[in-house]
């Protein structure tokens, strides 16, 4: 069943189109920056963008920061929202279940497909933006400077604090947010860490969308419902009055992956981020399973 789901995912134009779009945004941004040499000043704009002019190898991190707030969650929510509701509205769900494909099994296969899509999208962004960074923005300049995380959507991780001062390290070494140099291996590790953190964050969204997908027969409603949850969460994250619930909001620790680029890595928010996403996944996938396994299939 998992192979079948992956095959179906791979044969949909939408899959490749959305991945292409996600990869295109950082490319466009890179071209503008390369042409104008106008990167946002440290502390403003999307995270890492201020630094990429100095070191193109950091562009994957900047690219992830660019697609994280909207592009990636939208694509994941659409694919995950389509999982059960799409089959239901197309009428294929009843034929699959009468095959028989166990309901739990189908849900697991759908989840695997969504995870694969998320991973593929994150890897595609990282790889293409690395190429973009090196080819368009160029490898690191002789005088590298430190850079600050950007405050996207106002949810600056507490550990990020103020903008670090300009890095003192010169030469080919890549500079961490804290201003100390990183070896290429360290950078690779940290990029992988950031990728897995972002993937897991997206799976929290996916779990909500899959749950909604088992409730409604409209894939659109499921995807929009999950996105509405994120938008709501983003609003509450910036609202001081909502500080009681903030630690439990799905987007609260979304930017914690930036801490991977500090020296040493600040694990606190990263761990909390992983934890909260795990809780969201367990709760919503459990609810999805409970609902789907006992539901009358009338479509």
């Amino acid at each position: 069943m998992i192979t079948v789901e992956l095959f179906k995912l791979s044969r949909r134009m939408r899959t490749w189109f959305s991945i292409a779009l996600i990869c295109a945004l950082p490319l466009v941004v890179a071209i503008f920056i390369a042409v104008t040499h106008l990167a946002p000043p440290p502390g403003q704009g999307s995270a890492f963008l201020s630094a990429v002019l100095d070191d193109g190898q950091l562009y994957p991190a900047a690219a992830l920061a660019l697609v994280l707030p909207v592009f990636l969650p939208v694509a994941v929510a659409v694919v995950a929202g389509d999982s059960i509701a799409g089959e239901a509205s197309a009428g294929t769900l009843r034929y699959l279940l009468a095959r028989p494909v166990g309901r739990t099994r189908l849900l697991v296969a759908k989840l695997v497909a969504v995870i694969s899509f998320t991973l593929a999208a994150v890897i595609a962004v990282t790889v293409t933006s690395y190429a973009t960074g090196v080819l368009i923005l160029g490898p690191s300049r002789a005088s590298a400077v430190g850079f600050a995380p950007g405050g996207t959507s106002g949810s600056i991780a507490p550990g990020a604090g103020g903008a670090p001062t300009a890095g003192l390290q010169a030469g080919a070494a890549i500079t961490s947010l804290s201003g100390t140099p990183l070896t290429t291996l360290q950078l690779l590790e940290r990029v992988l860490g950031a990728m897995s953190f972002i993937t897991v964050s997206m799976l929290g969204v996916a779990a909500i969308a899959i749950f909604l997908s088992t409730i409604t027969d409209s894939p659109l409603a499921a995807a929009l419902g999950a996105l509405a949850t994120l938008v709501g969460s983003e609003i509450l994250v910036t609202l001081n009055a909502a500080s009681v619930v903030q630690p439990y909001l799905p987007t609260r620790y979304w930017l914690a992956w930036i801490d991977f680029f500090r020296q040493p890595i600040l694990w606190r928010d990263i761990q909390r981020g992983f934890g909260i996403q795990l809780v969201y996944m367990i709760v919503f996938l459990g609810a999805a399973w409970a609902n789907f396994a006992t539901r009358d299939i009338t479509t």
């Binding site: 069943m1 044969r11 949909r12 197309a90 009428g91 009843r94 095959r99 028989p100 006992t294 009358d296």
Partner: protein, 336 residues
Amino acid sequence: MIATRNLTKRFGKVEAVRDVSLDVREGDRYGLLGPNGSGKSTLIRMLLGLVYATSGSISVLGVQVPRHASRVLPEIGVLIEEPAAYPHLSARVNLRLLDAAGPHGSRRTRRRRVDDALEQVGLVGIDRRPVRAYSLGMRQRLGLAAALIRRPRLLILDEPANGLDPRGIRDIRDLLISLNASGVTIFLSSHLLSEVSALCTRIGVLDSGALVLQERLASLQEPTGRVLVSTDYPDRAVTALDGLVEHRDGTDLIVRFPDPAALNSRLVAAGVPVRSLLAERRSLEDVVLEVTGAGSDQFGVPAAKSREAPQAPDPPDAGVPEPAPPTSAPADPDMS
């Protein structure tokens, strides 16, 4: 093959299926009739474990459904309301995917089984086009092919003739009859009476969720004991058949007389030339309209809200489900 006992399904306050005890025997071509909204689809979905019954029990191929549905579903080919397929993929890819989706779809025989199914429904040659380009009739054939790829022992088909042209309907009827001859039991639902009467050996009639009739078609259509006589001398015939003529319409008479041959001799002996003479049989339409009572005028159109009680008096030998046959049907060695 299929036995339900006191099966009831409520959606909120609406009782979609009410206390249905139905039996489909091995080798039957069973037609489930009923107006739209009478509960046919809900009943079929319950047989397949898609909709859970509120109360009552279901046994399919000798196995309790939905608890052990996964054991018998591989042996059942289904068409549930409209066929459905992934529109951007070809018919062939759709069938391969569906076969690969569940258990028991051996990869080794898949290609051959898909080829056979496409051939059986007459889709060979156009099976590589994306389904989005298919006509309604072609989709219906594809749906039937999907039901056949596992070489089932039992076919459960909801409205199999939907969307087909007269030629397609005939092709499918011939296909179903030949499958049945090779040992496949067929359970289908329809609101096309002519289709059911041409194809089925037994019928059940649902009305507002209740099974109001279940009987062999042949016994429903036994002669009624009346004969339709057409003669150019109706007055003489009426005199000769003193009191036996029930109805007269110009030169056509309806005569209560059990044996058409004897009636013919009697008329000839009385010097009445007979133009035609025919033993009256009830049409399936008569039968169904009679048992569905007040629902009859809604046949073929969406039924009104479910009525409180069955309105039609049941015919003496119908309305009561026949005794249950043993549900453990012997496996057919040829079907796998």
